[in-house]
């Protein structure tokens, strides 16, 4: 285990963390403001990726595909909001879970019918497809740096929106106490629609940005959804800052765990069992982390006051 490897793995961990933040940001926003558990966030991420693949095939331009995919995802998201989700805001969490789970089932199967079961892919834009030399012998793909950059950008934009604008103020107020905001005469339904539309775009944006490094396939949002939930719960639901820090924490713990669990175990046990126990422990680490955090801070690292 050399120092340079540790450095690269730390960078990898941060990058995975930013990737998780991209997905978790929309989830925690919707959950925090609207108190709405949207399990369908994962399939909206998947849909973003599929739409980008489709529009890329039609236009051959990544940027155009990105914009069209976001627009299409927004339209579809608002349609879903209008037809289904709008009627669920007042319901309790369990009913939201079951209804959005139904939407997961439908869309996972739906993309299979429309685009086929075989995995698809989205190429990296030509000018961003190379690698750069971080240090002698260690190459880093440019696209991963783009992902890190866009994640930080999304974080910054969200921060500015939430702290500097009127909608942001309402969002903050809504996250703390939606009833009072509504009683003050704010059109809460419109606010919810804006927030939900924004959340949908964030999910789709994450899907498009990640599609070039991951396989675009039915069900690609399911595993990611669980990770995103782990992130927002550790961070404290509704807290953007919490989601950001928790995402980085999980990215680091997961990546470093995977990289070094076996090496560490080899210090205390023979190599062969270390090889089998190591990965099992590595896959458990983030859940252990979540259990520990919740044990000591039952409402996450950055609990939003008022709930």
């Amino acid at each position: 285990m050399s120092l340079s490897l540790l450095f690269v793995q730390t960078l990898n961990g941060l990058q995975f963390g930013v990737l998780l933040f991209l997905i978790a940001a929309g989830l925690t926003l919707v959950f925090g403001v609207m108190d709405f558990i949207n399990l369908a966030h994962g399939v909206q991420y998947m849909l973003g990726a599929y739409l980008a693949v489709m529009f890329y095939a039609l236009t051959g331009n990544f940027l155009v595909a990105l914009v069209l995919a976001l627009a299409a995802a927004l339209v579809f998201g608002l349609l879903l909001e209008f037809v289904v989700f709008r009627h669920l805001y007042e319901r309790d969490h369990l009913e939201q879970v079951i209804a959005t789970f139904g939407i997961i089932m439908f869309l996972n199967q739906g993309v299979k019918v429309v685009w086929g079961a075989a995995p698809l892919s989205l190429p990296i834009p030509e000018m961003l497809s190379g690698t750069i030399v971080l240090m002698p012998g260690i190459l880093y793909p440019v696209w991963r740096l783009v992902i890190i950059g866009s994640g930080l950008g999304v974080g910054l934009i969200l921060y500015l929106l939430v702290t500097q604008t009127r909608v942001g103020m309402l969002v903050r107020a809504g996250a703390t106490n939606a009833r009072i905001v509504s009683a003050l005469g704010v059109d809460i339904r419109r606010l919810f629609m804006i927030v939900f539309g924004f959340g949908t775009m964030l999910a789709a944006f994450a899907g498009v940005m990640i599609a070039p490094i991951l396989s675009v396939e039915p069900g690609m949002g399911d595993g990611v959804l669980i990770l995103a939930f782990v992130v927002i719960v550790i961070g404290g639901i509704g807290s953007m800052r919490g989601a950001f820090i928790a995402a980085l924490l999980i990215g680091l713990v997961d990546t470093l765990g995977r990289s070094f669990a076996i090496d560490i175990l080899r210090l205390v046990m023979p190599p062969s069992p270390a090889r089998t126990v190591g990965p099992a422990i590595a896959s458990m680490l983030i859940y252990v982390l979540m259990a520990l955090v919740l044990y000591f801070r039952p409402a996450g690292l950055f609990p939003v006051r008022g709930r």
């Binding site: 319901r91 969490h93 009913e95 209804a99 997961i104 019918v113």
Partner: protein, 327 residues
Amino acid sequence: MTDTTLIAPQRKPHALELAPVFIFLVLALAPVAAAFGPETYLLGLFTRVMVFAIAALALDFICGYGGLVSFGHAAFVGIGAYSVGILSAHGVTDILISLPVALAASAIFAYLTGTVCLRTKSVYFIMITLAFGQMVYFVAGSLAPYGGDDGMTLQVRSTLLGFQPFKNDRVFYYAVLLFLLAAYLACRAIVASRFGRVFRGAKENPVRMATIGYDVFKYQRIAYVIAGMIGGLAGFLLANVVEFVSPAYMSWQRSGELIIMVLFGGIGTLYGAIVGAAAFLLLEDGLGSITENWKLIFGPMLVLIVLFARGGVVGLIERLTGRAGRG
């Protein structure tokens, strides 16, 4: 935050009170009907339905009456199943050993994790139970001597003092039915007891219960252990139905399906869980044989149930019969 609960409608003495009796009658007579069809398959299917009904029942018990939504309930099913599998791999198949071991293992797991999980509330509780469920899932997948992720086949169903009563599908069916009945009656009795009143009260208003002088945490933990043990019982039976043990039994999707069963039937009614399990598994089986895209039908069905049939199947029937009663 809205309460993670549904307030059970105030029911008057009503024809629906007979529903549990009706359900168990149907289940008791089902094998007679099955004898005229493909018996092994139908018995197997219904046995599986009852096994999942037991697991869903346990979940409804803590979820519907205590407001504790566990997203890791499949872990208990898995622990029960693995108790049978691991013992049987070492040549121990007697139910008098494997059942107590399965129950004890799930009780211990429930006690330990409950101590941690019950510190949290609402969504945080959902997620922390998921965390523990995932941990058990990964542990099971890494049990190389017991098949790891592939799982392992049971050579025989559980035995009783050297006999193999469960080898006969009908006998096994009725045994599972008895277990289901026992679990149902036990849950009902507990809900109605003084313990149950405190437990239910803790869902509505934990602060008040604490002020009156009840240690809410302890009550909830006992209930969680009971639910875990019933889940373990379901796992014990599932291993015997399928004659196969696999980590797939405790994936988070399975925990999610259990929640769906509870909601599908009607939360906070206990027998609704049985209806829900039956509806879920029979739809899965039935729709699956019509089209491979059955999820395109099933998904929207879930949405419709939430939108238009609050209280699940039981709630729906309740309203229909109620309307009919009023004329």
